[in-house]
Every structure is written in C-alpha cells, then in structure tokens.
Symmetry: D2
Subunit: 344 residues, 4 copies
C-alpha cells in the first residue's frame, strides 16, 4: 500500500495538532483535518495507542499518520488544535495549548457551561477556570460571529447540537412553554470504552433509554435554550436512548407552544431561520438517521399534531455535526476559511 | 426431517383454526397454538401462500402444517379461531366464524373501536357492524373478567398494548393531564408487505419517525385512556418510530401529572397495580427491548425527572404480547384454561 | 416482580452446580438447567460477578439465582456440574468436582484433545492430565453410548460441533479427500470479553476472517475426522469469520471426495445417517442461521456443484448446540434422562 | 433546502446520461457522476420512478435531479452513458445509445460473456449480439489499455470483481490448480427488488448460502480466470452467501496451488502485481468489509495455512468497486481523464 499522502493543495492555511485522536470523535477529527485541502495534520496524539497508525487503529480511515504521545511543547510548530480528551482531562491540555498561542477547538464539555457551579454539579471541579471566560459555545449556526473572533471554541455535545438546531427557531421566538426531547443515538456516541454495555451482544436487537436520572447534556441544552429565549428557558425533559446503529442521532422534540401555531407559520419560521445555512436543511417530512450519515448535515422537520402540539425532528451524524465535523466547521471560521471547506 | 408432531398432552381443550396464518402475527399465532399443550391446531389458512407449509414459509417455526385456503364452512370442526386478516377484510371472516359458533380472537382493528364513527375516520366503513357490540377489547390485564365471558375478543394493537400497560395505573387514578408517547418498534410490527420501505437496505442503520400525521393506533389508546379515567382522557401525542430491529417495541411516555408525584408514590402505585400480573413486571430500571423478546412479558419502569415530569417506559415483543401472544392469553381465558398456558 | 420460581416438576433427577455462569455459555447453561423440569439449579458461580443475580446480569434470562463465588467443597450437595471456565482454568475445577463424586460436563477445551502434546501446542500445559483419560468427547450424535457411561464429558467447541455434524456421514464412509471449511459465527461465539474488537462499532456492518494463522478449534476437528475415518483424516483448511449477528453459526464445507458422488447418493447418505437424530435435521435447501436460533438444532444440507465438488452446509446456534444446549443434552444422557429433556 | 448544485469545476469533460438510475447501482452511478468535478449529469432516467427526484428516492444522496423516462433520442445531447438496466433489457438500450455515438459503460451482464452460447445458458438469448464484439470486460486493473481505446465497457459483476482481483496474480502465473470461492455479500448486492427474501425481517440476524445450484457470476469468473491462465482455467467452486449488512462484499478464496508457495513468495507476487494500482491495496492481515465501504478500494490479503493451501481474501464495496465506482473509473479512462477523478 502506497504511503497515504495528505490531499493538501499548496501551502496550508494552518498546521494542526489533534490531541486525543484515538477516541471515536478525535479520530474522525484527525481524519477530517488530514483530508482537508487547506489544513495540514502535523500531529495526532494518543495516550493509549501511541505508536500505532491511525489507519491501522481505524481501518476505515485513510490518514496514515503515526499516533504519538502528546508533548504540549512540541505543539509549538502548530497554529491550531482540536482536543479530543475526556471531560476533566481536557481543560489543562487546552490551557497549555493556548499558552503556546494555538487556536483551540475542544471537543470535551469542559468549557461548554458558562456557570462553573453548573459544571461542578455534573462533572466535578473545573481544572482551568481562568480559561472559561474566553470560550465560545461552538454551535456554529447560533454563534457564528463570535466563533470567527475567538481562539477557543467549546464544541457542543452531540445531543445539544441536534436538539438546539431543532428548537432554536421556536426558542428564539419565545414560543416554547414546555418541551420533551426523546433522543435516539447510535453507539459511537457512547464512545470507545463502555465495556459490557457496548459489547455487540448487548446492543444488537436492543433499544433502551439510559441516563433517566439526568444526562450531562441536559444543562448544556438548558443553558442555550435560556439564552435564546433571552431569560429563563422552558420546562425541559430530556431522555436519550441507545440504538443498534453505529453512527447517527435523531431527536424527537415535543413542544407545548406558548400560543397556537399552525403548520404554515411553522414552515415559514423554519424556512427563514435556516435559509442561509448550508448544513441545516428543512424538510417537509421527518428525517431518518441514515440520510445524514458521514455528512455534516442536520435535517429538520417541524409539524403539529391534531391537538396543537408542535413536533420537531432533527437528524445528524453524531460524529460529524455532533462532534468532529462541527469542530472543523468551527476551525474553518476561526482561521478565516470558508466554513464548509473539507466537509464536502 | 421427521414429521413435526404437535406437543399435545392428551385430549385438546379446543380445536383451533388460525385464519390468515401467513402474515407475521398470524404465523406466530399458528405456531403458538401448535406448541400449546392443550390446543390443537386444526387449520392454518392463507390466501397468498396456500399449499406451502408454515415451517417452510417461516423456517424459524416448527409447525409442520400445510397452509390451506380458508373455507369458513370447513371451520365447523373447530371450537375457536384466531383471525389474522388485514383490517377491513377481517370483519366478515369473524362474523362468519361466529355464526358457526366459534370463539374468536381477532388480531385486526375491526372491532377494537367502540364508536363506529371513529373506526370510519381511520379505516373506512366497518363491514360487520352488528358484531361490534359483542367484542371485548382484549388487553388482558384491563379486561380480564369480560374476556372470560365473551366469545369475541378484539385483540389490541401492539402500540396500544405497551402504551396502555405503561399508563393504566396513572390513568385509572386520574393522574394524567397530558402525555407524549414516543414509541419505537422493530420492523416486524410493520408487517410482511411494505415494499421498498421495509427492504433491508432502507431500514438498516436507520431510525425515523413515521405516521406523524396521525397513526391508527392513536384512537385505540385514546379510547382506553378515557375509559380508565372514567370520562375524557388526557391530552395525547403519539409518534411511532421504526428501528433496525426484528421484534421488539419500546414506548417512552412523558406524563404531565395532575398533581405532584414522587418516586416512592409511583413505585407503590405500579407495584400494587401489577402485583398479581404474571406478564407485567415492574422494574427499578428502564427495560430494553431485547429482554422481553420471544416472550409474552411487558416490563415497565416509572420514574420522574428533576422537573416533576413522570416518565414511564414499557417494553414488549410486538409479535407476542403485542399480537399473537396476547391472543393466546385471551383464548386461554375464553376457554377456561390457565391464562399462561402455552406461553412459558 | 414475583420471585422467579424454577419450573421443577416434583423431585429433581439431579442437583446441579454451574461453575462459571457469568460468561455467555455458562450463563445459558445455568438458564437451561433452571428451566429444566428434572434438574435443580443449586448454585451458579462467578468470579467476576458474584453477588449479582443472573437475571440482572442477563435481563433476557429468567433464572433469579444469585451468583456466588465458587467453593468446590460446597458443591458436595450437588450431583452434577457444568463448568464454564476459560481454557486452562477449567481443568483443576473439573478435577476437584470429580473428586467430590460429581458428574461433570466441561465447556472448556481442556479435555477435548486426546493427545496432551496437541493440547500443549495450542493451549499450553494441561493442568490435570490424570483426568484426561476419563473424558469423552461430547459430540452427542457421534459418541452417545460412551457419554451415557462416563462421568466426564468434554463438551465440543461450537465450530467443531457444526463442522463434524456436517461432515460425519462423509468422513465415516471414508469419502473425504480434502475439505475446506469456511465458518461464519455470530459475536457471542467470541465471548464476553474481547475489548475493542467486539465493541458494537467494530462489528456492525462488518465481516472479516480471523484466526487465519490457525484457530484452536482446528485440532479438535482434525482429531474427530481422523477417528471417523479410522485413521488419518483428510487434508483440512479451516477459516472462521466474524459476522454482525448475536447468536448463530454457519459452516460451509467444500469437499473434494475420494470418488464421484451424485446428489441422490448424498441424499441417502445424509438421510440415513441422521434418520434417528432429533436434533439434526437434513434439509433439501441450505439452512440459514436464523432458523436454528435459540434451539438445539443442527440443520444440514449436502449437495454438489457442476464440477463434482461436494458442498455441505450446517447451521447451529453457537450457544445452544454449540455449547450450553449440547451440555444439557449430554448431562441428560449421563443422568439417564431423555436426551431432549429441557431443550424443547 | 437550497437547490442542489452540481460541483462542476468549469467546462465538463463530458455530458453524461445515466439510464436506469433508480436501482441501487444506477442511483449511485448517477450520484457519482453528479459529484464528479469533470462530468455533467444531464439526464438520469427511470421507468418506475420517473417524476421523482433522485435525492427523494434515496435521501442519502445529494443529486437533486429529476428522474425522467428514457427517450434514447434525447440522449443525443450527451457524450457518454452509464446504463443500469436489468440483464436482457440493457442490450437494446446500449445499442441505441451507441448508434447516437455515445461512449457507454453497461452495468448489466449483457456484454460480459464473450461466448454468446454461455450467455444464453445463463441469461437467455442476447438481444444485440452484433454489439458484443466491441465490448471490453471492464475490470479496470486487468484490461486498462483496452478500456482506454473502446467505446463500450461491460462493467463486471460485483463477485467477479472481488474474486478476480483476489486471484489474478496467481492465475496469471498459472499457479491455480483448484479454487473454492466462498463469497459473502451485503444486501444491496441483491438489488432493490427481491420481495420477502430481502425484507428486513428475513435478513436480520441471518446468514445463508444461496445460488448453490449455480450463480450467474460464475461463468464470468471462469472466463477471466481462463484468459489470465492463457487457456483452460482452474477447477472452480463458487458459492455466495447473504449477510445482514447493507453494502460490502468479502470473498474468501481457497486455492490448491500447482506447486508449493510460501508466504514470502506470495507477498512478493501480490506486492508486485498491485504496486501501481491505486484502488487495490495489499494488506498483511485479512480485510474487513467495513473498511472499504463507500470507497472504490479493493483490499487483498494472501497467505497460506499449515497444509500449504493458499488463502486469498478480498473486500470491496459491492456498489462502488463492484458496480458504480468501477463504472466511473472506466468512464474516466474512456474519456482520457485521470482514472480516479471523482472517486476520492
């Protein structure tokens, strides 16, 4: 097999390190940077798999780069970083990389929650609180202008990405009184670890809710819905379910609106909200997970039932728009590149 | 291969015809009757597959009976029937079999809705309205005494079965103000036809809502919730989703209660409601589809979220408790047999 | 949930311990003993999961027995044991249980290979070589009479079970010159451990050969084919493949026969060989994995291609006939019970 | 959703019609032409789905082109065609398009077999025998130079593609005495029709051989192996199996070599044979289906077992390298473009 050459077109716009490239999201981030025509993948690091090549660890990927141990100082030769560390472990790495002057997209939850007390409730003490104020929540479609200006993006969780894209038009119009989010995810969303619970035999032909005592993505959704509504957010119930699928995510959102809404008004609201978005597509039918797989798309459908409930369905690929794809989308903006570059 | 002998123990309690035994539910009904120690499977009929053996058509089954064309008059030698015809086509067959004096469990929707106008709204004109008044809605746990006395059971749909078992304790206590039911089903629930939509390639690695403009199981759920509440039922939204699974069904019910309910009260309510039910198991964790597969069990878990919403999850096998298993459970009652006989 | 009562009918024929009941095969063995009308499941042990109930660890099972640490001396109150320990670890446990006078079926490979040198080549030094001479290779259909007489059965591997049932008629007639066995297995055959390799994401939508440098089931197949042929066995190539399926196994055997064989002769040979076997069914079409799932059946089809190659296909459930089902079948024989008891 | 614009860069190298774009292979061919930077997708036709958009019929695709009825004369405005018609129906369409002067890649079997009698044995009378002599068998790696010169390519079947790439180095060296090909395919290889047999419920958790009385891809394999060997080909047994996977194909080839071959010699043979091929990758481990999905790659691994049998495993995506991907690869060559253009 010939050495895998990166498809760079001329001088790169940025030299990039992906720190923590052996997990599902980090590995795809490395692959996407490697495929990117304007970015150069300089380092891909892993604590557990240093010495192996990324395309050996994930034979479906093509990036023939050897995984190395992270040495933050060595990242000096880079302009930007995507960090794929676990929650808690990410914060000090992010802080270190920023001290070297790198622009950073962090895939972890460490800088997503603006209130450190809320973070502490769900994850424990934040390791680098001094960085928190600089972070922009990286749901591109909601915070594009601030992402362009920042050098630290806290990339959203997969469930918040789909849920917020489903609900943003209603939330921004102050129309949500109460919302139930029944979310369904493929297994890659649960990560590479997981033991017995993610063994093929446990997942195959099965489907079950989990996290019914509270899921860590809930405060993220709550924070952004409140911000959109310009104050207190709606009453929210959020329950994720695990499905026997590799990549893919579907959220079914059941909204009790503050006032009656008919389908025509909903159609206009969604069409206008996303008219200029290339990665959000408004459909006239419910989306399926499969149709957005391996893409950075979010497909959304809003409708009502006979009793006046508003129902919004959104599908994404949890590893793309829900993690690594959105990270590259954000990095493109931070670097002044076209937002969709490398995500074609 | 030796001729498949039916495992009858002595004289049968009843001789049974399964009319329409080539669809998924009808075929399992025939198989269950065949396996039943007290029932004799005398005829299994099929319009489309007459001449084939049931265990050829479904190699996973063991009933070595040849499928024949239905001739209602020939059913005279039987005591009871399970009818697996499509909606609309079932009613005249049911009427004919009853004229011969057979006890009938009908798997179709034809006699489930007590109000013929509601039936007409969803299915069209009912073919044998004169029979409607005799039918008992066959959700065993709700109507056991009446099922024992009737000779016509309208076996419930799969979604209503899971949903009503999830909600009955709350509904009967008048505690449901509003409920969203997000239902997930394996593909066998959609039946043997279905064309492109149920092709392996369309379903595999996919998950999507369907019937968002109104699903035929909704009036059934509405009717029974109202009956349980002793008047008008709660506000209801019901949305089914198709999953890449063969058999299995999970309903996630999000209830806005009429008054605050804590987990202890919920636990008691559910434990008491189902204390004497052998096919309904109350769990202290959410059930998965896989754990009730190929069984007549319904596993239920009720809990609350931090905002006071009551969440109830129920899992069944859509072909067993959701169709053929419950049919046999009902037939057992109608015949004075032990309710669980042949469902072990 | 009511306490799960074991469906015993009167006095048990034997009191049974399942040692090592937390792995896939051991757990099913415990479940089958628990369901068995003539056996009493007295202990189910586990090193890793002691203190948990079997039906919690495997919610699809119904045996409400608490897993305990194995204390060989405590097994004194039992008459028989099924041992589900890993290769190497099983031998001393088996030896200890036999010293107490128990009849033992061992699911491991420790006593399958009659030549301790061959064992050593593939597994390492055998821990209890003094026991080896007493063991009978537990492929029921080949060694039924000796199994009836022994008190130690070495239960075959899943691949050897399917392969030998596919090939025994030809092998016993001395008709195999050369055979290629292309085997396909569901994931449960690879066991509960396995790490990343058995993660849902690694297996889903994938299929690949493994063990191409030699699989441990090969010497077992070789030993029995040679014994059937009464001397040196045929030239054998054996390659297993992992499929995205839970339970199930299919072997495709491509035989170069020692002389020309037509289909009629093959049909007779197989029909006669298995005429009296209730768990081996000879078909006139190739079997699929799904049709023997959750059963102790092996379905076999033998045919020829246009060039005179003999092709034999056999399907089993790797956890049933390939492990725990056959263990119970053997235990029934050892205890003088009907061979199929509890396997209905 | 914005109108889907085709990502053309400047003037197209050719204007292309895809005739028969509603089947699985034809639809992907249309999608690949649509994505191609140098080709313009002018028409995509369908008898069954005219009037629908391709991206509605296959929501996973992005080509927003409306399917039309084929009118051969209207194809005059095109330079090239890919024909996705069923066997038998393709020949007259191919003939008609060539009369208009189009370069044609035909996905059907109609012009694959050089001997019309062999064709007739497997498919029936050939409709346009006068065209047969012009066709080049489109396994790119074997016939690249002739493909560059022809204006009619008979694109190979999926099984022959994988099998021939697995065996070509050995066949060309005259080293194959006898070969068994055990092939495994995802369901998309069986096409969009198929009825009950391809219903999700029939395929899920199942695996079975089919076509054991002779599969139509066998004569194709036989023809090319003989041509490679420069005379009579080896003894061949070919058996396909259907797996519960969407896209993907794996062939396991068991070769009895004409003389002893060790692994080092095999390694050299394969490394040299495919040194300059960008779509064939020689691995030092067996490939899995998943790793070539949605790519035009064929990954090959050759090794030996302890008894001297040579084993070669090859994996492709049946819709890409096995159909539409190779069609575009061939069209690129016919048009003088870079072979890999649009297949990145």
């Amino acid at each position: 097999m010939a050495e895998a050459l990166q498809p760079l077109a001329g001088e790169p716009a940025a030299r990039v390190v992906v720190a923590g490239a052996s997990g599902f999201a980090g590995a795809l981030a490395a692959e996407l940077v490697w495929r990117h025509p304007r970015l150069e993948l300089v380092h891909a690091t892993s604590r557990s798999d240093a010495g192996r090549r990324l395309d050996e660890l994930y034979p479906r990927y093509r990036a023939g780069i050897e995984l190395t141990e992270l040495d933050v100082d060595e990242a000096e030769d880079c302009d930007a970083a995507i960090v794929g560390y676990p929650h808690g472990a990410a914060a000090p790495v992010v802080a270190g990389l920023r001290e070297l002057g790198l622009q950073v997209v962090d895939l972890s939850a460490d800088f997503r929650l603006r209130d450190p007390n809320v973070y502490a409730d769900w994850y424990g003490e934040l390791a680098a609180p001094e960085v928190l104020g600089d972070a922009v929540y990286g749901l591109t479609e909601l915070h594009r202008d601030r992402i362009r200006e920042t050098d630290l993006v806290a990339n959203p969780g997969c469930y918040p990405t789909a849920t917020l894209l489903a609900l943003a038009p209603l939330a921004a119009a102050g129309l949500i009184e109460d919302v139930v989010v029944d979310a369904k995810s493929g297994v890659s969303g649960a990560g590479r670890g997981g033991g017995d619970r993610l063994h093929f035999v446990a997942v195959d032909e099965n489907a079950a809710p989990y996290g019914t005592d509270g899921h860590r993505h809930e405060p993220e959704i709550r924070q952004e819905l409140a911000a959109l509504a310009g104050g207190r957010g709606p009453r929210l119930t959020f329950v994720p379910h695990l499905l026997p699928i590799d990549q893919g995510e579907l959220v079914s959102c059941y909204v009790t609106p503050r006032r009656d809404l008919d389908r025509a008004e909903l159609d206009s609201l969604y069409a206008e909200s996303y008219a200029d978005e290339r990665f959000v597509e408004v459909l006239d039918r419910p989306p399926g997970m499969r149709e957005v797989r391996d893409s950075n798309l979010c497909r959304v459908h809003a409708t009502t039932d006979r009793g006046g409930r508003v129902m919004v369905f959104a599908a994404i690929d949890n590893l793309w728009k829900g993690a690594a794809g959105q990270a590259v989308q954000n990095l493109n903006l931070m670097l002044g590149l076209d937002e969709g570059e490398g995500l074609g």
